[in-house]
């Protein structure tokens, strides 16, 4: 059995993996709002004023 079968299998599995990741990302609504996350990610630092605060729960970690 040639190594090419293994290589092809791997390459297609990797490709399908990314494809599934894409579908899941679309499904979870990641592409619905393309502006707010870009602002949200800048907030964490400003929260710390007097006492350390818990991190923002709503912040997406994607």
């Amino acid at each position: 059995m040639s190594v090419i079968y293994i290589l092809l299998t791997i390459s297609i599995i990797v490709a399908i993996g990314f494809f599934i990741a894409f579908i899941l990302a679309v499904k979870s609504g990641q592409f619905d709002d393309s502006y707010t996350p870009s602002v949200r990610m800048l907030f964490e630092d400003e929260l710390v004023k007097e006492k350390p605060k818990s991190t923002n729960k709503t912040t997406k970690t994607n």
Binding site: S2, I4, Y5, L8, I12, A15, F19, F22, I23, V26, K27, G29, F31, D32, D33, S34, Y35, T36, V39, R40, L42, F43, E46, L47, K49, E50, K51, N56, K57, T58, T59
Partner: protein, 790 residues
């Protein structure tokens, strides 16, 4: 002394700012919001953006309906015993501070477990425990100046599913395209190499497998559209596309089955991927705008009814029956036609007519649905139900159920009829020729013609041109619903304008003084006292009067809703409404006036006028060369003479038009062949906007509501209207040129096809090349068009 601006909302604080912690506030409301944030360590709200807030409004009793079970059910997207999730629309969301404070709601109320803002849509999705309720959440938001907008639309519409199928299809096509390219690459340089020969079948069948989802899932819309076209006996552009796709797929499958060649799976996948990209590009949406609004977006969900025993109860507006007594609070909208029973009504009909002038009504007067009470509480008796009211009746007209796209043949489909016929003729001629010369090649040539002539480039021209123009228009504050609107814009021959709010500006910027001349000193005191007042009319008048030295007044007393009394040295002045100042004349209902008296002697009055927008006259003079112009106004003829002076002579002026009349007027002219743009702004234009070929809503502030339409134009860009129409016309030219360009590619391709020498590699090069050069051509030319827009 310089007036300070409010730390919270940025408004002018006037003469007597409220000071708290060395910060000035314009009113108690703003100060309260600051206190709330201050107590909860949330003051960095003010660090992110300067003065980001809004003044919290009077809301007492307004949200009592939110305790009703069926209403909560409709407004929440998830509800169980300990958790509720709701999405609220908040018009005030406008900056990063807004996002920050709204996503930290849990610091203000521990019962709220999370909140997430969608900035584009101006919504916040709040998750809260059952220890609190929807009403408290809404009240909390209102208390910090972020009052949600809850309308009848939220109640009747159910959950809107977001349609993401195009992204999925594009994803599938892109995935397949990439992998097929990678698998087909070795065979492009076929040199009878040993290993390549060995694995050829494997590579080919993998490509076949990858193309299956592309053909049967991604391309499915084209099959459906082609089928619909055939059924309606229209040769639309999707027919040659589907022919091409089918032939590509079938021929490739046959070729690999009998080992005749490597097939055209690469071209097939590329073709569908490019076509879908074009579709995606054309689909520009403005999240923060809605083009589909009807009266439901303006109307409240519930209203307070006074039942027979005199108790107040909250009922849904659909349940209002004839004869019900209902209570309208300050800032609430009147949902039905009725008669005023008691209270001081001051109604703002700006939603309906575009006229911002409030009207005073007395008990016994008729009130129409759509007006907004702006002062105190009134009681009224309903004369009709919601659907039968004067305004809402308009929506029972058929025009609102009609699809505007129907019956409109777009530029691509116009050409596709000839194109399809030409392709079929060429393929038949070429096939018959080869049948005589070399029958073994005949089938090959027949399919090759259909493959190479597949009008990918033609199908891409319009989406990319219009899609790009849509974006460019958006940058210039002209928000167009979809691409076909731009195309219709190019074929217009008549333009109809509404008057109030459309060619006139809502802001009163014109005031005339009538009465005894004011002395220098009186003038100065007048100006100084106006400066201290927060009333909108005082503000306007202040900005109109010429600047003089500002005097410090000895006393200053403002009587809310009546006027101002000031004392400066020996001069005592009263400024305000006629009855307050003691005007000798009857109160005029037609005009807005501010009266002035000094030392108890009546001096005179300032009368405010609607002013016409800047550049109206110039715009009309440019437009008159190319279009028929009409003014269609719901008002009386009072302004006829003024308009005659202002506008070119051949402009038709038609007054006293009811909403239905406007609609009928447009319908009548359309039957005579007119292609009409209607430009309006109020709900009373809604019928006309829907009936016209292109309905443009003019909006002072695109974030607030405008009626259903095809495009929304920012009022400041009103005088550039002609440029947009001109650009649309040029866009049609661009598309025609790109058709020419793609024909050239087709001729080259057909040469290969007809002579029977189409290799997969030629197809794989020619197809993307033509598509990409069309995309580049249209993008560059439309950007050039965009540069010309001001």
């Amino acid at each position: 002394m310089e007036n300070k601006t409010c730390f919270h909302c940025g408004d002018d604080c006037g003469h007597h700012p409220i000071t708290f912690q060395d910060k000035s506030f314009c009113c108690q409301g703003c100060k309260t919001v600051f206190e709330i944030f201050n107590e909860n360590d949330l003051t960095c709200y003010y660090d992110l953006q300067k003065s980001p807030g809004a003044v919290p409004k009077e809301i007492e009793g307004k949200y009592d309906f939110l305790t009703q079970e069926n209403i909560i059910d409709k407004l929440t997207e998830f509800r169980d015993d300990n958790l509720e999730i709701t999405t609220l629309y908040i018009p005030h969301i406008h900056c990063s501070s807004c996002i920050w404070i709204l996503e930290n709601l849990n610091k203000l109320d521990p019962n709220i477990t999370g909140s997430q803002v969608n900035f584009g849509k101006k919504t916040v999705r709040v998750t809260y425990k059952n220890t609190t309720n929807l009403k408290s959440v809404v009240l909390l938001l209102s208390a910090i100046g972020y009052e949600p907008y809850i309308s009848l639309d939220d109640f009747s519409a159910g959950k809107k599913e977001i349609n993401r199928s195009l992204i999925y299809k594009l994803g599938v096509a892109g995935f397949g395209f990439g992998n097929i390219m990678f698998l087909s690459f070795p065979e492009y340089f076929e040199v009878n190499e040993f290993w390549l020969e060995q694995y050829k079948p494997l590579f080919r069948w993998l490509m076949f497998a990858l193309s299956l989802p592309i053909v049967f899932y991604s391309a499915q819309d084209y099959f459906i559209s082609a089928y619909k076209g055939l059924k309606a006996k229209i040769l639309n552009i999707d027919i040659p596309i589907v022919l091409g796709i089918t032939v590509l797929f079938v021929r490739s499958t046959i070729e690999i089955t009998w080992d005749l060649g490597s097939g055209f799976f690469d071209s097939l996948a590329g073709l569908i991927f490019f076509l879908l990209t074009g579709k995606f590009f054309q689909q520009k949406t403005y999240d923060f705008l809605s083009f589909e609004r009807d009266y439901k977006s303006y109307f409240p969900i519930a209203i307070t009814k006074i039942n027979h025993e005199g108790y107040e109860e909250t009922i849904q507006v659909y349940d209002i029956k004839k004869g019900d007594r209902i209570l309208i609070r300050n800032e609430e909208l009147i949902p039905v036609d009725g008669i005023l029973i008691n209270g001081n009504a001051k109604i703002d009909y700006s939603f309906v007519t575009g006229e911002s002038q409030t009207l005073r009504k007395h008990s016994g007067d008729k009130l129409f649905a759509g007006g907004k009470q702006t002062q105190g509480v009134i009681e009224m008796e309903a004369l009709k139900s919601v659907e039968q009211s004067y305004l809402t009746q308009l929506w029972s007209n058929d025009v609102f159920n009609k699809d505007k796209e129907e019956g409109f043949t777009n530029i691509t489909n116009k050409i596709s009829k000839h194109f399809t016929l030409a392709i079929l003729t060429i393929s038949l001629i070429a096939t018959s020729y080869w049948l005589f010369r070399d029958p073994s090649k005949a089938m090959n040539v027949f399919t090759a013609v259909l493959i190479i002539a597949c009008p990918c480039a033609i199908a891409l021209s319009a989406p990319f041109t219009f899609g790009n123009l849509l974006r460019l228009f958006g940058k210039h504050k002209f928000y167009v619903k979809n691409a076909s609107v731009i195309e219709k814009l190019a074929h217009i021959n008549t333009i109809i304008f509404d008057k109030t709010g459309t060619i006139t500006s809502n802001r009163k910027s014109h005031a005339k003084y009538a009465g005894t001349e004011l002395s220098e000193e009186e003038h100065q005191v007048l100006k100084s006292s106006l400066r201290g007042s927060n009333h909108p009319l005082s503000r306007t008048l202040y900005s109109i009067l010429k600047a003089n030295n500002i005097e410090t007044l000895d006393t200053f007393e403002e009587h809310i809703g009546k006027g101002i009394v000031v004392q400066h040295k020996t001069l005592n002045m009263k400024i305000g409404s006629a009855s307050f100042v003691g005007s000798p004349e009857e109160r005029s209902v037609l005009n807005t006036t501010v009266h002035v008296s000094s030392n108890n002697v009546y001096k005179g009055k300032f009368t405010f006028y609607n002013s016409y927008r800047k550049g109206v006259s110039k715009l009309f003079n440019t437009l008159k060369k190319h279009y028929d112009l009409v003014i269609l106004s719901g008002d009386n003829e009072g302004e006829r003479e003024n308009l005659k002076k202002l506008l070119p002579a051949k402009t038709k002026l038609i007054f006293n038009q009811k909403p239905e009349d406007k609609l009928e007027f447009i319908k009548y002219h359309q039957t005579e062949g007119a292609k009409i743009i209607m430009i309006g702004d109020g709900l009373n234009d809604a019928g006309a906007l829907a009936q016209s070929d292109v309905g443009i809503a003019l909006s002072e502030d695109v974030n607030v509501f405008s009626p259903a339409c095809d495009a929304i134009l920012d009022a400041t860009k009103f005088n550039t209207l002609y440029q947009f129409i001109k650009a649309s016309k040029s866009a049609i030219k661009i598309i025609q040129w790109s058709f020419v360009l793609s024909f050239i590619y087709n001729v080259v391709g057909l040469y290969f096809a007809v002579t029977g020498q189409l290799e997969p590699v030629v197809a794989a090069i020619l197809m993307p090349l033509s598509s990409i050069s069309i995309v580049i051509f249209t993008t560059i030319t439309t950007n050039f068009l965009g540069k010309k827009l001001k």
